[in-house]
Amino acid sequence: MTTVTVENINYKEEIRRKTSKPLMWMGIVSIIMFFGGLTSAVIVSQGGGSFLSIEMPFSFTISTFVIILSSLAFHVGLISINKGSYTIAKISVLITLLLGCLFVVTQYMGWVALYESGVYATGNQSTQESSFIYLLTALHVVHLIGGLVSLIVVLVKTMKQKYSLDNSLGMQVSITYWHFLGGLWIFLFFFLRYTIA
C-alpha cells in the first residue's frame, strides 16, 4: 500500500476547530448519564424504606461557594483574553486553579467530619446511604481532578500568551467542563440534602 498525502489541505486544524466543543459536550452528556445512573440508584434504594438521614457537613456548603467563585474567576479570565489583557487573565486562571484546589480541600474536610460523626463509607457499620454520600462526592472529585489538569494546561498556555481573541478554543473547552463540574456539584449538593442528608 502506498502512502499518499493530501497536499495543500490543512484539514486537521479545521476538524479540530469544528469538533472540539461538540466533543466536550458529548463527553459531558456521558458523565451526566453516569451520575444519573448513580443518583437513580440512590432513589431506587430509598424505595426500600430503611433510609436513615445523615447530617450534611458544613464544609460541603463552603465547597458550593468555592466552586461558584472559581467558575466566575475563570470567566473573568476568558473575558480578559478577549480584551487582550494577559495580566488579569493569568491572575484569574491562577485564582480558578487555587479555588479548585480549595474545593478539594473542603471536600476532604467534609469527609473527615462525616467520619468523625460515625458515618462510614464501607464496612459493617456503613449503611447504603453512608456509602452513597462518600461515593457520589468522591466521584465528583475524580472528575474535578481532570478539570484541574486542564486548568494547569490553560494556565501554562496563558502564561505563554498562546491565546488570543480568535484563538481561545482550548480555554473555552476547559471552561465548559469547569462550569459543568460546578453545576454537577450544586446538583449533587441539593440532591444529597433532599435524599440522604
Binding site: M1, T2, T3, V4, T5, V6, I9, Y11, K12, I15, K18, T19, P22, L23, M26, G27, V29, S30, I31, M33, F34, F35, G36, G37, L38, S40, A41, V44, S45, G48, S50, A121, T122, G123, N124, S126, T127, Q128, S131, L135, L139
Partner: protein, 593 residues
C-alpha cells in the same frame, strides 16, 4: 540504516497506532472477528455437553487439558464458557466489532469527511478495546476460571468473591475488562456523533444521509446514554465485592455463616443493568439494520421504500428502548401494574419494527435484484428479524413471560432476533464493503456457500430451542439429563448440537474467503456495485484524507436507483445517479418527501 528506521516508524503509525479511520476500522474488524470466532468455539464446546451429556470427547481433552478432564467438561467450566460466550458475542463481536468496523469505515466516507472528529480518541478507542479483549481472555486462565455468573453478572454471584469458583479473580478481571471496554465504546460513540453532526460535506443535509449513517448515529447516541449507567452499576459492584459496601447485598449466608452485608438489593443491579442491557440489544441491531437498508436498496436497484419512515422508525425504536427494561424483570416481584406498563411500552416497539420489515420487503418487491452474498445476508436478516421479533411479543407480555422466563425459549428468541440479525448484517456489510476495506473483491461462490450453510444451520440451532423452552427446559443448566421430562427431549439437543458443529465448519469457508481475498482477490473497481453513496467516489487506494483535492459536494439523496423520466428512459443513461450529480431542473430530491 536510517531508512530502515524510518520504515519501522512508518509501519508502526500506519498499521498499529494509526489515527486513520479506515485502518482503525480494519483493526476493529479483525479483532472483533477473532473474538467472535473464539466465542463460537466456546458455544460448540458447551453444545457437545448439552447434546451428549457426560460423554467423553477425548480429542478435545488433548486440546483443552484439564478443562475437559477425561473428555467431559466440568460444570464450573460450563458456566464459565457460557458467560464468556455471551459476553464476547454481545460486547466484543457485535458492539465493538460491528460498530467499530462500519461506523469507522463509513461515517467519514459516506458523509464526505477527511477523518473522524478526533483521530487520536479514535485510536485510543481501539486500543482500549484491544486491552479489554486481552483481559477478558486472560480471565480464562486465572484460578477459579473465568466469570461464571452469566453475561448479565447478577449479584450475589458476581458480588461475593467466595460464592462460586468463577466469582473470584475471573469476575474481577471481567469487571476491569468491561470498564475499559465501556471507555472504549464511549470514546468511539462521541466521535461518531460529533463527526456526523459537524463534518458533513457541502450539500449533505440530514435528509440526504444514507440510512447507514442514521443507524450509526442513533446507535452512538444509545451508547452514550446507556453505557455510563452500566459503568455506574459495575462500580457499585466493585465496591460491594472489594470494599465491604452493601448496595446489592442483604441477609446472605455462605456455608452457614451470616455475612455482614445488610440493606442492599440485587434488584437494584437488575434495574441498572437492564437500563443499559435493553438499549444494548439495539446498539447491536441498529447498525445491522442500517447496513441492510443500504444494501437492499442498492442491490434491488430501487430507491429505499419510505426513507423518512425508516429514519422515524429507527428513532422510535431508539427512544422506546429506554423505557422497556422492566420486561427483563417481570419475575422480580414487580408490581403487576408496573409490569403492565412495561408490557405496553415493549409491545409498542412492534410498530416501528413492522414498519421497517414492510419497507424492506416493498423495496425488494419487483426490484431488479442482484444476488450477491451481501444481498443474501441482508434478506437473511429480514427473515431472522421477523421470526425472532414474533417471539418477542410473547416474552414482552408479562403474563406469558412467566411461563418461559429463563428457559431455552428466551435463548432461541434472543439468538435469532439479536444474534443472528446482527451477525447477518455484519456479514452483509463485510461482503459489500470488502472492496472498500481491502481494495479487492471476495469470492461470490464461496460467499453463497457460506450463506446457505449459515442460515440453515442457524435456524437448525435456534428454532428447536423454542420447543425446549415451551417444555420448560431452563437455560444455563449444565445438564438436563437428571430430569426425566427433559431427558426425553435429548434428541432435540443432539440435533441442535450437530447443526452447531456444521455452522462452525461453515464459518471456516468465510474465514478462508476473507483472508484469501484480502491478499489474492481480484482487484476491485472503484464502484463495484454501482452505488450512489460517496464512499464509491473515493479512490480505491487508502490514504489519510480520503479524497484528493476537494471533497465532493452532494446534490441529492442516496437512493436514486432506476430513476426514469416521463419517456421511461433512465434519467442519466444509467440505473443509478450518484449523490454528486446535480439535480436536473425538473428533478426533485428524494429525501425531501
Amino acid at each position: 540504516m536510517s531508512t530502515h528506521h524510518h520504515h519501522a516508524k512508518d509501519f508502526l503509525f500506519t498499521y498499529i497506532f494509526s489515527t486513520d479511520h479506515k485502518m482503525i476500522s480494519k483493526q476493529f474488524l479483525v479483532t472483533g472477528f477473532l473474538m467472535g470466532f473464539l466465542g463460537l468455539i466456546m458455544s460448540t464446546l458447551f453444545r457437545l455437553q448439552l447434546g451428549w451429556p457426560g460423554e467423553s470427547f477425548e480429542m478435545i481433552e488433548m486440546l483443552m487439558g484439564s478443562w475437559q478432564e477425561g473428555g467431559v467438561m466440568s460444570p464450573d467450566k460450563y458456566l464459565a464458557l457460557v458467560t464468556m460466550h455471551g459476553t464476547i458475542m454481545v460486547f466484543f463481536l457485535l458492539t465493538a466489532g460491528l460498530s467499530g468496523t462500519f461506523s469507522n469505515l463509513l461515517i467519514p466516507l459516506q458523509i464526505g469527511a477527511r477523518d473522524m472528529a478526533s483521530g487520536f480518541l479514535n485510536m485510543l478507542s481501539y486500543w482500549f478495546f484491544f486491552i479489554s479483549c486481552m483481559l477478558m481472555l486472560a480471565s480464562l486462565f486465572v484460578e477459579g476460571g473465568a466469570a461464571s455468573a452469566g453475561w448479565t453478572i447478577y449479584p450475589p454471584l458476581s458480588a461475593l468473591p467466595e460464592a462460586i469458583p468463577g466469582s473470584g479473580a475471573g469476575m474481577t478481571l471481567w469487571l476491569v475488562s468491561m470498564s475499559i471496554f465501556i471507555v472504549s465504546s464511549l470514546l468511539g460513540s462521541l466521535n461518531y456523533i460529533v463527526t456526523i453532526f459537524n463534518l458533513r460535506t457541502k450539500g449533505m443535509s440530514m435528509t440526504r444521509l444514507p440510512l447507514t449513517i442514521w443507524a450509526f448515529l442513533l446507535t452512538a447516541i444509545l451508547g452514550v446514554l446507556s453505557f455510563p449507567v452500566l459503568l455506574a452499576a459495575a462500580l457499585l459492584l466493585v465496591f460491594d465485592r472489594s470494599f465491604g459496601t452493601s448496595f446489592y447485598l442483604s441477609d446472605i449466608y455462605i456455608g452457614g455463616q451470616v455475612l455482614d452485608h445488610t440493606g442492599g438489593s440485587p434488584i437494584l443491579f437488575e434495574h441498572l443493568f437492564w437500563f443499559l442491557g435493553h438499549p444494548e440489544v439495539y446498539i447491536v441491531l441498529l447498525p445491522a439494520l442500517g447496513i441492510t437498508s443500504e444494501i437492499i436498496s442498492t442491490m434491488s436497484r430501487k430507491p429505499i421504500f419510505g426513507y423518512r419512515a425508516m429514519i422515524g422508525s429507527m428513532m422510535a425504536i431508539a427512544f422506546l428502548s429506554f423505557i422497556v427494561w422492566g420486561h427483563h424483570m417481570f419475575l422480580t416481584g414487580m408490581n403487576p401494574f408496573l409490569g403492565s406498563v412495561f408490557t405496553f411500552t415493549t409491545l409498542l416497539i412492534a410498530i416501528p419494527s413492522a414498519v421497517k420489515v414492510f419497507n424492506y420487503l416493498t423495496t425488494l418487491w419487483k426490484g431488479n435484484i442482484v444476488f450477491t452474498p451481501a444481498t443474501m445476508f441482508s434478506v437473511g436478516l429480514v427473515s431472522t428479524f421477523i421470526s425472532g421479533g414474533v417471539t418477542g411479543l410473547i416474552l414482552g407480555n408479562s403474563a406469558l413471560d412467566i411461563n418461559v422466563h429463563d428457559t431455552y425459549f428466551v435463548v432461541g428468541h434472543f439468538h435469532i432476533v439479536m444474534g443472528l440479525s446482527a451477525i447477518f448484517g455484519m456479514f452483509a456489510g463485510v461482503y459489500h464493503w470488502f472492496p472498500k476495506l481491502f481494495g479487492r473483491m471476495m469470492n461470490n461462490k464461496l460467499g453463497n456457500i457460506h450463506f446457505w450453510i449459515t442460515i440453515v444451520c442457524a435456524y437448525g440451532v435456534f428454532f428447536p430451542m423454542h420447543f425446549l423452552g415451551f417444555a420448560g427446559v431452563p437455560r444455563r443448566y449444565y445438564t438436563n439429563s437428571e430430569f426425566p421430562m427433559f431427558n426425553e427431549m435429548i434428541d432435540i439437543n443432539v440435533f441442535i448440537s450437530i447443526c452447531a458443529i456444521i455452522a462452525l465448519v461453515g464459518q471456516l469457508v468465510f474465514f478462508f474467503n476473507f483472508v484469501y481475498s484480502a491478499f489474492r482477490g481480484p482487484r476491485a473497481p472503484q464502484n463495484p456495485w454501482k452505488g450512489n453513496t460517496l464512499e464509491w467516489t473515493a479512490p480505491v487506494e487508502h490514504f489519510h484524507g480520503n479524497w484528493y483535492g476537494e471533497i465532493p459536494a452532494v446534490y441529492r439523496w442516496p437512493y436514486d436507483y432506476s430513476k426514469v423520466n416521463a419517456a421511461g428512459e433512465y434519467v442519466y443513461g444509467e440505473d443509478y445517479i450518484p449523490q454528486t450529480t446535480p439535480l436536473g431542473d425538473d428533478e426533485k430530491d428524494g429525501g425531501e418527501h
